[in-house]
């Protein structure tokens, strides 16, 4: 079974909660899909069996000597990535999407496409099972494509090593890497917090997940910071029939656990927090 943990808003405690879940399942398949800010490896220190190169895309490069300055590429580029400067085409790498249209239409073949290949994907094992994660090189794009690839890898490993449960720690937001994280999973857990921004982002995340008709569960983290908003979130979830599987109090122990390099379940195995998380996971699983 594949369970994706997402949040809409960042910093709601998604990774800490995913990590706690991962340490509650034996022979788990742990997948860190937050590829531009992957963090779980900091807690789990996986032993790397394999490192793979990820080609995130291509960028156009102009041969200045060959360019005749006709401006056809500038005119056709939909990403405003080409500007004619002193009679030569200049590519803005930040705006270039790698569509290769300029390369195809250049009458003098002055443009080449260079693969962008600094990002890496890692496959390994850790104290609770198997782990796959990706690290997008700073500034690189196509995080959705990378998520698709690490999920493909994780599916094969889960099959081979008979992992009963796969837990995917998703990225924040509701864009391409999130779509790639939730596509085809069995269940989605949305972690929120009782702040107006958390609530507003939860609504957008739920709206997105609904488009995929996936079974959805909500965890309200840091409830004690604002009980009133927490209750509002709870009521709203009841109205739209989304089960709230845990109301977690704010606890500095969550941060202390991180500093110790442990999940809350490992750091305080007998605590209320651990029990609440155990209960939530069994509700999600069964």
């Amino acid at each position: 079974m594949e369970i994706a943990v997402i949040s809409g808003k960042g910093g709601t405690g998604k990774s800490s909660i995913s990590a706690a879940f991962m340490s509650l399942v034996s022979n788990v398949m742990a997948v860190d899909c937050d590829v531009d800010a992957s963090n779980l490896y900091l807690l789990f220190h996986p032993f790397h069996d394999k490192e793979l190169v990820f080609v995130s895309g291509k960028h156009a490069k102009v041969d200045n000597e060959a360019c005749i300055g006709c401006g056809r590429c500038e005119e056709l580029c939909r990403f405003d990535a080409i500007e004619m400067t002193q009679g030569k085409a200049v590519i803005d790498e930040i705006s270039c999407d790698g569509c290769a249209l300029c390369y195809r239409i250049c009458p003098v073949d002055a443009i080449t496409m260079i693969p962008v290949d600094k990002s890496r994907m890692y496959i390994g094992t850790f104290r609770h099972g198997n782990m796959v994660y990706g690290r997008l090189a700073p500034g690189e794009e196509n995080s959705g494509k990378m998520v698709n690839q690490i999920r493909e890898i994780s599916k094969n490993i889960a099959k081979e090593k008979l992992c009963p449960v796969t837990i995917l720690d998703g990225p924040p937001g509701i864009g391409c890497p999130v779509l790639s994280t939730i596509t085809g999973v069995d269940k989605v857990v949305i972690v929120t917090e009782p702040t107006l921004s958390g609530f507003s982002d939860l609504k957008r995340a739920v709206e997105l997940v609904r488009q995929y008709s996936l079974p959805t569960y909500v965890i309200i983290n840091k409830c004690t910071l604002n009980q009133t908003v927490a209750r509002q979130v709870e009521d709203w979830c009841a109205q739209i029939n989304v089960p709230v599987v845990a109301l977690l109090p704010f606890s500095p122990e969550m941060v202390e656990a991180l500093v110790e390099g442990k999940t809350i379940v490992e750091y305080r195995p007998q605590s209320d927090m651990t029990n609440l998380l155990k209960k939530a996971l069994s509700e999600i699983l069964f």
Binding site: G11, R78, P172, L179, T195
Partner: protein
């Protein structure tokens, strides 16, 4: 001066810093504007009572492929780098896979039989708001289900404000990939908000590496100081990076924020921190001019 408020890690308090810094600069009589570029989940404007005065729809190219006019030459399929055209010449079937399309229009350039019609799809809206007698608040809001926020971020930065402000603040999306790059690329200075935890530090390092590659000036704000450990401080000191401000972790601050309040209006400690941050940015702006 354009200032992006960003962070590698989500939820470190970008919006919190952007909103309160806006408030402090305004209180000092500065002409300041704030645009929310976290277009996937925008929420900076929820902190203000402002009136909508302009809204534009942002669109992106989408082809409409006419099956009946297609000669099945396959040139559009060859041109499409995103594999967004589903093509079965043996059954004379061709269709656009909308989710994969980036709107580059290469297919339209490729087609010689007039089977591809140029059309567009709405990627989101850019709205500008009037607040305290000037149009100084704006947000981009992406259509749910649309995959890429980048075109909308570009449009937000370009169209949010007609008049130039002395200080333009951009609340950036989290991460260090394309949405983050797009927001910081057009900024003169970047404020990186982090928290003193191992996750915060790891993401901060990645964000700083990216900014160094881009040659951007930046400073760091540590939020929720007192929680976690000293590693972030050591890292900043070791590398000589600027610590612009520290905001202590207090339940009172978290509560005010959760209620949708501009914290520095109600909390003396936070007010002092943001006033001093505003002063530093003003001094930086004056020195770089």
């Amino acid at each position: 001066m354009k200032i992006a408020v960003a962070s590698g890690k989500g939820g470190t308090g970008k919006t919190f810093v952007a909103v309160n810094l806006f408030h402090s600069l305004k209180n000092k009589g500065k002409c300041v504007a704030l645009a929310d570029c976290d277009v996937e989940v925008p929420n900076a404007l929820a902190f203000f009572e402002a009136d909508l005065c302009n809204e534009i729809e942002v669109t992106e190219f989408r082809p409409i492929i006419h099956n009946d006019q297609c000669v099945f030459c396959g040139k559009c399929v060859e041109y499409c780098e995103y594999h967004a055209i589903f093509y079965m010449p043996s059954s004379r079937y061709i269709r656009l896979l909308n989710d994969l399309c980036h709107g580059c229009a290469a297919c339209s350039v490729a087609c010689e039989s007039g089977a591809i019609e140029n059309s567009s799809t709405v990627v989101g809206t850019v709205s500008s708001y009037k607040y305290q007698n000037s149009v100084c608040l704006a947000e981009g809001r992406m259509t749910t289900g649309h995959p890429s926020p980048v075109p909308l971020i570009k449009a937000t930065m370009k169209n949010a404000f007609q008049d130039q402000s002395e200080y333009e603040l951009y609340d950036s999306p989290p991460g260090t990939s394309c949405p983050f790059i797009q927001t910081v690329a057009k900024s003169d200075f970047v404020i990186l908000v982090t928290e003193p935890t191992p996750f915060g530090l790891s993401d901060l390092k990645q964000a700083i590496d990216t900014l160094l590659t881009m040659g951007k000036a930046f400073g760091v704000v540590i939020n929720r100081a007192g929680l976690g450990d000293r590693e972030v401080y050591d890292y900043l000191e070791r590398n000589g990076y600027t610590l612009l401000a520290e905001i202590p972790f207090e339940e009172e601050i978290a509560r005010l924020y959760s209620e949708g309040k501009v914290v520095s209006e109600h909390h003396e400690g936070a007010n002092r921190v943001f006033h001093s941050l505003a002063d530093k940015l003003i001094a930086y702006g004056n020195s770089s001019n």
